[in-house]
Symmetry: D2
Subunit: 262 residues, 4 copies
């Protein structure tokens, strides 16, 4: 059960969102509130877009709270679209390649959730990754496999690709009796548009909030400060779409999923 934050808006230093708020992601790494895992100390990562079309990544297996580099980078890196993630591992090793975000070409992804019965389903999920993307699987997490499966589903319509992949996942976790659970609360971006998903099968979905001010939107696992009225919850099984230069829209994901599955 990880914690993350995604930002799209005016170019800003990452520190204003990652390290400075009263309940910043860094403070969530050692003491999260709305999570079953209160400690998220199994590595962390930053991903950001700048002038280069592909995102930059800084991922490290130490806890975020004691990483000196992270504080320097959050002060010095400026971006119009960035992700930050603190990890609570659910079985796979604590390595840099298993830390979020993941990048593939222009795309970047991070995840809070899990595929239940991963040991049983891993091969079938990995089989969703097309051959040409399989060399991009440099870690061993369920999250990275989901990302590459989504990438392989065709990124012309990223929401449809995600919905289609989730429909396949829903079928996989439903094979057993009792059924396995799936939780998928994730962010996806191409450097222009930001997509955030809140979804679950056979389980409650992990929390997801956002705050929109002028052209800036922040999407988070849990609020960064105690002004709760300003944070809106994304409903379960919905997707938030914050396209470049547009206000965020919240759409039902189940509908899209059903549509995709047909």
């Amino acid at each position: 059960m990880c914690r993350w934050i995604a930002y799209r808006g005016e170019t800003t230093a990452l520190e204003h969102y990652v390290t400075e708020p009263s309940h910043s992601l860094i403070s969530q790494s050692i003491h999260a509130l709305e999570s079953t895992a209160s400690v998220n100390g199994d590595g962390f990562g930053l991903g950001w877009y700048g002038t280069h079309p592909e995102p930059g990544l800084y991922r490290e297996l130490r806890p975020a709270w004691s990483d000196e580099n992270l504080r320097y980078l959050c002060r010095h890196l400026q971006s119009h679209l960035f992700f930050a993630h603190v990890r609570a591992a659910t079985g796979t090793p604590v390595t840099r390649p298993n830390c979020h975000p993941f990048a593939c070409g222009r795309w970047m992804f991070m995840h809070n959730g899990f595929v239940g019965g991963w040991n049983r389903l891993r091969r079938q999920v990995e089989a969703l990754i097309p051959d040409k993307l399989y060399p991009s699987r440099i870690g061993t997490t369920d999250s990275e496999a989901l990302f590459l499966a989504i990438m392989g589903a065709g990124m012309n319509d990223p929401v449809a690709a995600t919905a289609q992949t989730l429909a396949r996942l829903a079928a996989l976790v439903g094979q057993t009796e009792p059924a396995d659970r799936l939780r998928f609360t994730a962010a996806l971006s191409n450097g222009q548009d930001l997509y955030a998903f809140r979804y679950a099968v056979n389980d409650r979905a992990n929390t997801l909030y956002y705050r929109e001010e002028a052209n800036n939107i922040v999407v988070v696992s849990e609020p960064l400060d105690s002004e709760p009225g300003t944070w809106l919850s994304v409903p379960e099984n919905h997707v938030l779409i914050a396209a470049a230069g547009e206000r965020a829209r919240i759409l039902p994901l189940l509908y899209r999923q059903r549509e995709a599955a047909e």
Copy 2:
């Protein structure tokens, strides 16, 4: 505010004390109970005596809970006298040399506590380390400096050396108005005898418990299981002496300290 465990007795695999108990040191690393810092994720260490007169050390800056090596070592290492420590840093960096235990020749030391006003007092504490031991200062913690100061005070009588050093520390932290605090709950050994100290100046001392069964004694920051009746508390400002082959004795440290200071 760290957590630690010290063992002296029959040769045994470390896992029986470090990883297996219901509230083992590993579980304390992610969720300590009797501590102001409930997470002790700033590195950890093992120290143990075998056939070689000098102890072995395994220290690592990752959290103990996610370290695969630690589980293998606790299963395979057997020792009649060992230390294990999980760290919650109080200002100095998270590096291996700043992890406990510390070793110097045949001696080994670990600590839970702090020297208040360390930035102001550091030079004066380091000045207590004799020149010939100063090359052994490979880290930057207050704990390592205290250890080397004790080592320099003459180890023919390790309790007197510790009491003398603590008397000097008490004088240093008392220089200011308001006075600084000192907390010192530490274990010391030469591979035969085990000493455990619980002491504080201008503050409450950190907790210290022990359990003695036949020839085995375990000394801990907090009980390893929920059989609380079997755990005895070491009183504040006392030292526990578990000499080789003898029952543990609890002696007042203040008396020895006063004596040493005169």
Copy 3:
């Protein structure tokens, strides 16, 4: 192109073979002689058998030459059968799970070599791992995949299982024009018997030497000292079998492989 050492014989401290010799594995980590990669600084590992039926592992992503823990462990760990390995990565990330040796139940394995065209062949090699062993794939190297494929081929006859797996590999690398290369110089053990393989397809095999004295045998990538007359080379495409309590035998592997393939 990695470097490794395997020992089977009288119980001894690892330091006599890993850290002390004039051209020890540690010195090979920073300056190997008979290797295309003179620096083997992409992590290292120890694996050893003790009283527990499963081996212990210590793997770390730092270079071996600067790891303080490694020196302590080599001094304090004693074993009748151990492996040590320094890594020069050939494309997969520098993580602990990608460091050798690998363990699976009672078995332990390490490797010097590579599967050419890994990005193309990875899926087919991973498909050789049976479902029940796939959860044991915690890293992403070709070496670990080969180990689990061998394990899956049935360990009643480990040489036959290895030969069978190599025959399958030989078929895979031979699919393309020009053919890919395969180098496989590996050690395998169950805690009693030691097997060392030297094999290649479409390429020269990596070097492999051994020295046998009384009941002790050491198998190495390159000699540990400059007494070259005492080191014997294992011929290409042969296997060295040092069964518990027996003298080493050298057998042709191609013959066994052909046999296995039939």
Copy 4:
């Protein structure tokens, strides 16, 4: 014996100097040419100035050649004045705080060299650090101690402060018979001006080269490419001063040192 590079000029991505050249600093980390230590695998660091008056730092104890984060950062970080350093440790532990560059307020420093007899002289060198800067000593290297001693000598005239500190060092290393050696090839900056020193006592100085083109200057331990005619050597016991917006000047350091000592 480390390797480093310093840049001052037009704002540029770090990759053009740190990772891309044919003999880049990264390639020097695994195979330096003009150095007694051909492997510089004991950690590395980046330091750069941006819009914030204090520099950013990224320091890591892994070898530079296998660090994925470093490649991302060199692509995405842009700066008008940056340092990069790969370390070959000369006795102090491989920790992040022992990696170069070091920062103190607006100032940044990195070093290639050593103080001979460091175990004997360490206390005397640390005594050159004024009390108010002693909390900034977070590592244990001779290099960091030299930097803080220089900082304490008054930064109104950084060359005079360095010369004065070196004069004191020269006196310290000259106390013994035979005299100890001192090698000091270092870079210093406040974000506007770049200073590079090449100095030695009782020894040859480490190499130092620079290339100046238009308003850009690069100062390096060894040339980054095989266009040797374009690289000029800084003479021993000289300082290169590249003040903001000015051409570089080379001045004798001995003279300044003598002056400072008087």
